[in-house]
Every structure is written in structure tokens, then in C-alpha cells.
Amino acid sequence: MPDLTLGLNQLDRGEAASADRLLRLVYAELRRIAASRMSRETGSHTLQPTLLVHDAWLRLAGTRNWNWRNRAHFYGAAAEAMRRILIDRARRRRAQRRGGGQAPVTLDGLDPAAPAFDDDRWLALDEALEKLAAEDPAKARFVRLRFFAGLSLEEAALASGISPATAKRWWAFSRAWLFEEMRGP
């Protein structure tokens, strides 16, 4: 088991390198859990990223009572890791589709449950989020927590250090903004 303790403790002490390290840890852990699920749950090729993220948290953090600060770091990393997994996969599958090959069931097996979110939609969302990040990085982070780490409004607010009321406004605005952005000019 990768040592999350170290990653989180160093974050607390403000060591810059460990954010990246934490991300790598979480990324590896997510892929590992996903892979082991895939090999065990034969017949089911869909997994819920959110559950994966939560499982990863439980497994990495163990039974300790981490405070929300640690947790926020973790979920930030988890959202980014999950984003990479989902987006990479969407890109790969799209490339394969364009190349005429049949899309294989990938190891990640991360099928977001909502049918509305196909590969193209994920990619469009990610692109729009990039643009939002350029203008308002805090909101983009907040939205990523919601979309990729599956946090509720309340949790995402806590992890972003804003009040629930602000979170609600951020969410309404960002969502409309992204929607508009994704629809294209």
C-alpha cells in the first residue's frame, strides 16, 4: 500500500513536491482498485468512479480520522486523477473509433453511469473546464470536485473553503457557463 500518510503529512507542512506525489499515489491506487474490481467482477464492465474514489480514500487513509484539510487534499488529487483516467480513456476510445478499430474494454473500465455522458461529452466538458480554469481557477477546481470526485455540493464547499450558500451560487453559475461553453458559439 502506498504510504498516504507521508503524502498528506508533507502537504500539511507545505512541501510542494508532495502534491504531485499524492496525485501519483492516488492515481496508482485508483487504477489498481479499478483493475482488481474488473478482474473480480466478471460480467460487469461498469464501475462507478465515485465509489472508486471513496474506496481509494478509505483504503489509503485507513481508519484514521483525518480532518477535512487532509481530506480536501485527497479529494483534490482524486478528482484530478479520475479526470485523467476518464479523459485519457475517452481520447483513446475516440482515436480508436476514428481509426476504425473496435473500442476494446479497457482496463480502467470506468464507465460513468449516466448515459448522457459519452466520451465526446466528457471531452467537451474537460475542454470547457480548462477555459473556466483560465478565467477562474477556484471555480474550475470546485466543479472538478463535483464532476470527477463525485462530491456533493456541501462536501465540495467544505473542500474549497467556501460556504454552502456560495457553493450553490458558484455551482449555478459555473454550470450555466460550462453548458453555454459546451454548446459552442
Binding site: 504510504d3 453511469a113 450555466a176
Partner: protein
């Protein structure tokens, strides 16, 4: 973009707060000279409306973790569709309930249920529409009608229902202190209501006290079931399996939900699911609590919750009451206007069985309809015999006969031996004459003969009479074998039957090669005697497969088992008990070949079939359950092993009694699991219990007593109590040498264990000598490729390594590993154990690359099933050491840190005998930092390595 995001956002929110009609004016004012900005905000506002439905995160989150949703914005006077809200009358997990007035229906008063945000409104409504016709057909005095459904302006679904002014059933009963009989009468009303709905094709799916309200009509309590059709409409909106795994998709309320509904993979819910919920309700009305407490389920986490609901049997209602604190029991009795004693007496018996039948995990064994459940409760009230019966009654009736056959049929000849040689020959002669007299119907004769032998001569049902095995009987058996030769010329089936009996006796003695010989002969006799497709000959073949399995001839064993199984399935039927026995044999063969998954799956399949065909308390079902527990243990899924182990121990204790041999096997099995889990105190007490029982019941020299003695020695060894372990094992060894001879497999086992203990005590040279002698004997008696022989090789290699004879150790490890890979397969736990020990030898020899290669595989294999086990961390520590040796410092550091952390926070405690691994890992870290030239960190770890292993916490 011309205008800043902040300005856009401010305008967006300002406009959003206004009524729609006021927005245009507001924006015209604010963005007067900037038409681009104004268009942008308008687009954002439009996007806001659409995005609320279409751009929600598709990832759901567990309800347990998510915070409550924002409070609703509805207030009295709010108009929703044709309804005006009057007053909020309830607030629940899935929304709020309002008293409302219907505008166009003579201001009819209705209950309006507003579903919480976050539901896919269109889908909910569509589901409701699909159900509407069925709902409309329901017309029953105890069912509150659902009139309508729709969506609010903000997109929340709502349902309109007949207004019921009542309180929940359980509260009503407690407030009125209803006696048990009255509660049961109300319950019957509820059952009839549910039955009515079922007849109209509506399943409730969320029956629970808060959905069953009691109102008083003219002083009479009238229960009304509400919310029919709502659970279905508001759940499973995506229908897919993935969504159903989240908490918020848990259809129903955990404490009341049926196993098939709790099981995420089970999409096929029928009316019997409601019957289960009614069973829970009956249990609650009777005992004051649900079979599984809501708090327990809430704390359990989703997986554990499912396991509880799907696998764990709740205590009988009367047991539940007995387990309560006296004060609590008294309170529950008072609420039923009775005393504790009277309540217990009233519940014990019929109500126990009725609730159990309602709560059957397997719905095909549940009451099939709500009406039949009601009818049984009615019978109970009328003091008529109920349909439900104690699950073990059937078994108890046939128990004596079955015990003779199933447990002890094997030992017929041995029992003869007890009576002395004279009687043996007399009986055999008698048996032979019996056979001869009935030459025409030989098969019948043979059957009668065996029955006679088994039933009349063998009655070791009381343990005191269980024979004590020793060498004398071996001689007797051989003599019996010889006496069969030539006596049954022309009576092949009679001879086959007797040889089968002999084989069983050899089996009981542990002489499997002799058993194989007898069964092979019996099988051949049967095939030549009768038509080729005779079922009995396949039963013999199945037993032959089991015997071959026991001698380690797995390939032959599997071939016979598969042939027999195919034939039995075809000729006798796929669910016949004998077919299922062959499945168990095949599973064992697969297991011994290291095909663990296949084996475990087959055991599970056998268990499920037996549970269904024979009943859950049948001894063979229990035997399957035992196998399943063992399979999980061997597989490393120790928590499952523990669960099944406890379950089988409970069932056997209940059904067979606490002193039955099979119950003691269960004690033993659970003891081994607890030991593997590091629960050494518990393991010790289980093995002690088994040992005491066996000493008392079977005598100190019985093979089973010796097995218990060995198991206890193992626990001592883990506890680093080597003296006691050695003493116990030497005692065992002496008895075995005397009774079984020095070359017997079981004797060698004890000798091998003695060698292990000796090694643990640090006397490596002595251990080497002991292992060498065991290995030599095993090679001679079992052959070089028998798993036990290879195990000796493995143990000898370890002893050599610990004796610093690394070169010798390496070549033996290589040999053992190659053999295990070939015989057991590369993923077999034993193979991996050899690979791990081999890796450690390589490490000691300084061959780091070779060590790394060996250990990486082991780590991968351990990590998957048990990432938080100390053994996994221990291998990781070895991997780290190998990496450090290869100067791959960063990776080594990561592994060693993780290993150290993993060891300190392992799910299973490290046994004292292995505790040194924590310090070793700290030392490895220190060495790593020395090599890496990081003296400060090196010193820190050196300090940690010299202090207590837990100091680093």
C-alpha cells in the same frame, strides 16, 4: 470575452434572483450600452434552466457521506399544479409531505408528497405513468390511494395521495399498549391489503412502519398502507447495475429490505420481496425490534449491510427477546400488557417459526404470498397447527438413521473388527450366505447385506462407541480383503459392495492407496456386471475419484470425477444428492490442484443446490458450508472464511449438537481461520474446546484427537510458546508412531511439525536432520511429486537457509518451486509461499535481481485479495530490501515505508512468532539511508529499530 467573469457572475445572480418577467428590464438597465454582455447573460440564464437537468455530475455519491440537501422553498399557499399546499405534515428521507387542497375537486384534501431534489423528474413521472393503471385498479379499505403525480415548477416530482391522518403502526401499538393478539390482528389486515395490491400487479417495495399508518374510525383502529407505487417510480431511474450500488440507490429501507432487493445484482424483484418486509414487520411487532437493528445496518457500510441482510440469519424472535436486558424485555412485555415470562412463552414456538419462514433468505422457501403468511398468523391466533414448522423438524425425524449412514457408514468392517476376529468371519460368512441365497436378485441381496452390516453391527452413534483406530484393525482389514478373494465368484455386485465397505474402512484408517485398490476393483466389478449405464457404478467411480484425490493422483481423480459427474447428471439428475456429492469431490480435486477459483465456485454451487434440495440444515448442506469456509480460508479471504466458519459452527451446534463430531470439525475449522487472522487467543480457546471434547469423547489416541492436538501446537508456535508446542507435538508423535507406525503419513506430519518448532527454537541443524528424514520417507511412500513430499522439500530448504547453507537451500528451493508450479500451479498459495521463501534466500545470498523477480510476483498475488494483511506488508518489505540492494533507493524507500506502515496498521495482528519483521523492516530502512548517504534519517530508523516495534506509531 469583453467583460470579466466576475461581472457576468454578478449580473447572472442578480437576474436570477428576480422574477422572470423583471429580468429583461433589469438587464436592459444594467448592460444598456453593451449588447454583447446582455446577450451573454441572457444565454447564461437560459443555459441555467437547461443545465439543471442536463449537466449534473453523472457520478452519484453515497448518501451516508453527502450532506443534507438545501431546505425546500415550498411554503403554505404555494401552488403546485392543481393543488395548493396547506400545511407540512411530514418530512422524511425522500422528501416532504404536505396537506394540500385540490382546486378542481371540491377542494378535496389530499396528501402531497414532494420528492427531494436530485431525482430525474421526467423519469420518475414516466415510471409513475407506467404504474398508474395498476395503481388505479387498487381499491382496498387498508390501502391509501395514489391519485396523481407531476412535476413542480422547479422540476421536483410530486405524488398526490389519499390523505391519511394516522400514526405509524408500531407507534400506535406501543402507545395503546396493544396486546400481542391485537397486534397480530392488525398485522393480518396489513397482509390482506398487501395481498390485494399484489393481485392487482403492484409491488410496494418499501413496506415499513412509517408506510403503514393507523387511523381510528369510530374507535376502531384501521391500518392503511401508503406510498404504493412510489418506491418503484423514484428508484432505479437508470435501471443499470452501476447506479444501484450507491447508497442513494438502495431501493427500500435497509432494516426492512429483502435479501434479493438488497443484492445489487438481483434485478428481479417480485411480490415475495414484500412478504419478507412483512416478516420484518411481524418480527418487530412481536419483539419490539427489527431482525437487524437499523443502527447496525447504518453503521455497517454498504457491503457489510448487504452481507448481513443476505447471509446472516437473525435470531429467532424468542431468542431475540431472551437476549435482551431484563429491564428492556420487561418494558416490551408491558407494552403488550403481559409479563416477560408470558411474552416469551407466547412467542416461542409458532411465532418463531412463522417469522423465520417470512424472513427466509431464499424466497422460494418463504411464504409465497402475503395471504399465506396472514393465514398462518390466523391459525396461530386460533390455536391451530401452523404451516410453518421448525426448520429442523424433518431432519430430527430422520436424524438417527441418517447419522448412521452419512457419518459412519464408512466404518462397517472396522466395527466388525471391534467385536473380534471370530465374529468378523462369522458375519462375513453370513453375509456371503445371504448373498448366495438371493442369487436371482443379487443387487438387492447386496444392499440388504450392507444394510445389515452397517445398521446392525455398527452403532457408533454415541461417540463412546466410535472405534479407536489402531494397527490391529489394519491387519483385520487386510485379512477381510484376502477372505473376499474367490468367495464371490459369479456374484460381482455382492463383492463390489463389500469391497466398497472395505474401502470406506481403509479410508477411515487413512490408508488411501488401499482404498483406491478396493474401489478400483469394485468399480471394475460393477462395470463388468451390469449394463454400462448403471447409476451405482458411477457412485463408486465418484468415490474412487475422492480416493485418488487423497493419494495425490489429481489428474486421474479429475478424469474419474468428471466422467462420473456427467453420467450422474444424465442418468440420475443434476440435483440428486449423489450427483452433488460428486460435485463436492470434484471441487476438492480442483482445490488440491491449486485451481482455487474453480474449486470455490463449485463448492458454492454445491452448497446452494444442497441448501435448496436438501434443506439448509441437512448434514450434507452443512458439510458443503464447511467446505466453503475452508475454501475461503485457503483462498486467503479470511473474513469470509470467518463468517462462514461461524455460521457453520452455529448451525452444526444447533442441528447436530455441541458434541457431534461434525460440530467439532467446525470448531477446528474456525480455530484455523482465527489463527490465520492472528486471533490467537480465540484460536487457542477453540482448539482447546475441540481437543477437550475429543479427548473425552474419542479418547486420547484417536486420530481426530491428535489432529486437535496438532492444531493447538500450531497456535502455541505462533504465540512463540515453543516449549509447549514442542511438548504437545512430541506427545502426538509418540502416539502416532505406536498406533500408526513410523511411515504413516500422519506420523510424518507430526515429525515435520516437530522440525518446524525446532527451527523456530533456533536449532537449525537439528531441524535439517528431521526434515531430511521426513523427506526421504515421503519420497519412498508417497512418491517425489506428492504435495506433501514437495512440502518437505520446501521446509527442508528453509531449514538449510536458516542454517546458513544458502547454496544447498537455493538448489532445493528451485526444485520445490518448479515442482509446485507444475503440480499445484503458479498461483497456488503454497507455490507462492515457496517463491517467497526462495526470494528471501536470494536476498540473503545478495542476489538482489533474482530476489526482486521472485518477490514481485508474490507481492502482486498477495496484494490483490488482502492489501492490508501483515503478510502482504512483509513481502513488500522484502521487495524493498531487494530494491535497496539494487541501489534503486527511491523505490526502495517507498516500498519500505509502505511496508513499515502496513505492518503497524495491518488488518490482522502479526503473530508474536513473526513480530520481528517490524524491526527488520526498520533496520532495512536504516540501511537504505546509510547506503543512500542520508545519515540523519538512518539514525532515526536505527533508533526506531532498537526500540519497541510499536514505538513508530
Amino acid at each position: 470575452m469583453s467583460s470579466s467573469l466576475a461581472r457576468q457572475e454578478a449580473l447572472f445572480h442578480a437576474a436570477l434572483d428576480l422574477a422572470k418577467t423583471a429580468r429583461a428590464g433589469f438587464l436592459a438597465r444594467e448592460c444598456g450600452d453593451d449588447p454583447v454582455l446582455r446577450a451573454r447573460i441572457e444565454r447564461l440564464l437560459a443555459a441555467h434552466e437547461k443545465s439543471a437537468d442536463t449537466l449534473e455530475p453523472p457520478l452519484s455519491i453515497s448518501a451516508a457521506e453527502s450532506a443534507p440537501l438545501p431546505a425546500s422553498i415550498e411554503v403554505p399557499g404555494t401552488r403546485i399544479g392543481r393543488y395548493t399546499l396547506v400545511e407540512k405534515i411530514g418530512e422524511g428521507g425522500c422528501g416532504s409531505v404536505w396537506l394540500a387542497e385540490q382546486d378542481d375537486f371540491g377542494r378535496r384534501r389530499v396528501a402531497l408528497k414532494l420528492v427531494k431534489l436530485g431525482m430525474d423528474t421526467a423519469d420518475v413521472i414516466a415510471r409513475f405513468e407506467a404504474e398508474r393503471q395498476a395503481l388505479a385498479r387498487m381499491d382496498h379499505p387498508h390501502i391509501a390511494k395514489v391519485f396523481d403525480a407531476g412535476a413542480t415548477g422547479t422540476g421536483r416530482p410530486y405524488f398526490v395521495m389519499e390523505l391519511v391522518r394516522g400514526i405509524r403502526l408500531t407507534d400506535y401499538c406501543d402507545q395503546q399498549a396493544c396486546p400481542l393478539a391485537e397486534r397480530l390482528r392488525l398485522f393480518i389486515d396489513v397482509c390482506h391489503a398487501v395481498q390485494h395490491a399484489h393481485q392487482k400487479g403492484v409491488i410496494h417495495r418499501d413496506l415499513k412502519p412509517s408506510n403503514i399508518l393507523v387511523a381510528l374510525h369510530d374507535g376502531t383502529a384501521v391500518p392503511q398502507v401508503i406510498d404504493f407505487g412510489i418506491a418503484k417510480a423514484t428508484h432505479g431511474r437508470l435501471g443499470g447495475e452501476a447506479r444501484a450500488t450507491a447508497f442513494d440507490q438502495f431501493v427500500g429501507t435497509p432494516a426492512y429490505v429483502s435479501p434479493e432487493q438488497a443484492d445489487a445484482s438481483e434485478r428481479d424483484i417480485d411480490t415475495r420481496s414484500d412478504v419478507y418486509s412483512l416478516g420484518v414487520l411481524l418480527y418487530e411487532l412481536t419483539t419490539g425490534g427489527t431482525p437487524f437493528a437499523a443502527e447496525t445496518l447504518a453503521q455497517a457500510g454498504l457491503g457489510e449491510m448487504r452481507r448481513l441482510i443476505c447471509e446472516v440469519d437473525p435470531p429467532r424472535a424468542s431468542q431475540r427477546l431472551e437476549q435482551l436486558e431484563p429491564a428492556r424485555l420487561a418494558a416490551i412485555a408491558t407494552a403488550r400488557r403481559t409479563t416477560s415470562r408470558q411474552l416469551l412463552a407466547a412467542v416461542r414456538g409458532d411465532l418463531d417459526w412463522i417469522t423465520l419462514r417470512g424472513l427466509e433468505k431464499n424466497r422460494s422457501r418463504r411464504y409465497q404470498t402475503a395471504a399465506s403468511l396472514a393465514a398462518d398468523v390466523q391459525r396461530h391466533l386460533r390455536h391451530e397447527p401452523v404451516e410453518a414448522s421448525p426448520p429442523r423438524a424433518a431432519y430430527l425425524l430422520g436424524k438417527l438413521v441418517r447419522r448412521h449412514r452419512a457419518m459412519f457408514a464408512a466404518a462397517a468392517i472396522v466395527a466388525l473388527a471391534l467385536l473380534g476376529t471370530a465374529i468378523v468371519s462369522l458375519r462375513l460368512a453370513l453375509a456371503a450366505r445371504t448373498a448366495e441365497r438371493r442369487a436371482e436378485s443379487e443387487a438387492t441381496a447386496a444392499n440388504q447385506m450392507v444394510e445389515f452390516l452397517q445398521r446392525d453391527l455398527l452403532a457408533p452413534d454415541t461417540p463412546e462407541q466410535t472405534p479407536v483406530w489402531d494397527l490391529r484393525w489394519r491387519t483385520m482389514l487386510d485379512r477381510a480383503d484376502a477372505s473376499l478373494e474367490g468367495r464371490f465368484a459369479g456374484k460381482p455386485l455382492a463383492e463390489a459392495t463389500l469391497r466398497e465397505t472395505l474401502a470406506a474402512s481403509y479410508r477411515a484408517l487413512g490408508d488411501h492407496p488401499a482404498e483406491v485398490t478396493q474401489l478400483a476393483r469394485a468399480f471394475a466389478l460393477r462395470r463388468q456386471a451390469g449394463p454400462p449405464d448403471q447409476p451405482p457404478s458411477f457412485e463408486t467411480q465418484s468415490r474412487l475419484a475422492a480416493a485418488l484425490d487423497a493419494t495425490g493422483r489429481f489428474v486421474d481423480a479429475e478424469r474419474h470425477a468428471r466422467t462420473a459427474l456427467a453420467a450422474q447428471r444424465r442418468l440420475a439428475g443434476p440435483e440428486r444428492p449423489e450427483t452433488l456429492r460428486t460435485m463436492q469431490v470434484l471441487a476438492s480435486i480442483l482445490w488440491n490442484q491449486g485451481r482455487l477459483r474453480e474449486a470455490a465456485a463449485l463448492h458454492k454451487q454445491t452448497f446452494d443446490l444442497r441448501e435448496r434440495v436438501l434443506g439448509r440444515d441437512h448434514p450434507e448442506t452443512l458439510a458443503s458450508m464447511q467446505e466453503l469456509a475452508q475454501a475461503y480460508r485457503g483462498y486467503g479471504e479470511l473474513i469470509s472464511a470467518q463468517h462462514w466458519g461461524r455460521r457453520v459452527l452455529e448451525a452444526k451446534t444447533r442441528v447436530l449438537g455441541p458434541e457431534h463430531p461434525a460440530t467439532i470439525i467446525a470448531l477446528n475449522g474456525l480455530g484455523m481461520t482465527q489463527r490465520a487472522l492472528g486471533q490467537l487467543d480465540d484460536a487457542e480457546s477453540l482448539h482447546r474446546r475441540a481437543l477437550d471434547l475429543r479427548r473425552r469423547l474419542l479418547g486420547p489416541e484417536h486420530p481426530d484427537t491428535l489432529i486437535s492436538q496438532t492444531n493447538l501446537a500450531f497456535v502455541f508456535q505462533d504465540q512463540a510458546r515453543y516449549e509447549e508446542a514442542g511438548r504437545l507435538d512430541r506427545e502426538t508423535l509418540e502416539v502416532k508412531r505406536r498406533t500408526l507406525g513410523s511411515d504413516h503419513a500422519s506420523t510424518l506430519n507430526s515429525l515435520s511439525i516437530l522440525a518446524i518448532i525446532t527451527l523456530a527454537q533456533g536449532r537449525a541443524a537439528e531441524a535439517v536432520a528431521l526434515h531430511e528424514s521426513v523427506l526421504a520417507t515421503r519420497r519412498r511412500t508417497l512418491g517425489p511429486e506428492h504435495p506433501e513430499t514437495i512440502n518437505s522439500l520446501h521446509l527442508l530448504a528453509i531449514a538449510l537457509r536458516e542454517n546458513d547453507r544458502i547454496g544447498d537451500a537455493t538448489s532445493l528451493f528451485a526444485e520445490a518451486l518448479a515442482l509446485r508450479r507444475r503440480v499445484l500451479g503458479p498461483q497456488h498459495p503454497d507455490t507462492l509461499r515457496t517463491q517467497e521463501e526462495f526470494g528471501r534466500a536470494r536476498l540473503l545470498a545478495g542476489e538482489f535481481a533474482a530476489a526482486l523477480e521472485l518477490l514481485t510476483d508474490v507481492l502482486a498475488a498477495r496484494e490483490q485479495p488482502s492489501p492490508r494483511a501483515w503478510r502482504t506488508a512483509a513481502v513488500r518489505s522484502e521487495v524493498g530490501a531487494a530494491l535497496a540492494g539494487l541501489q534503486r533507493f527511491e523505490l526502495a524507500e517507498r516500498h519500505l515505508h509502505a511496508a513499515h506502515h502496513g505492518l503497524l496498521h495491518a488488518d490482522d495482528p502479526i503473530p508474536p512468532a513473526q513480530a520481528a519483521i517490524v524491526r527488520i523492516t526498520a533496520t532495512r530502512l536504516a540501511q537504505l539511508y546509510r547506503q543512500w548517504n542520508k545519515p540523519a534519517q538512518a539514525e532515526r530508523w536505527e533508533r526506531l529499530a532498537t526500540t519497541e516495534p510499536t514505538a513508530a506509531r
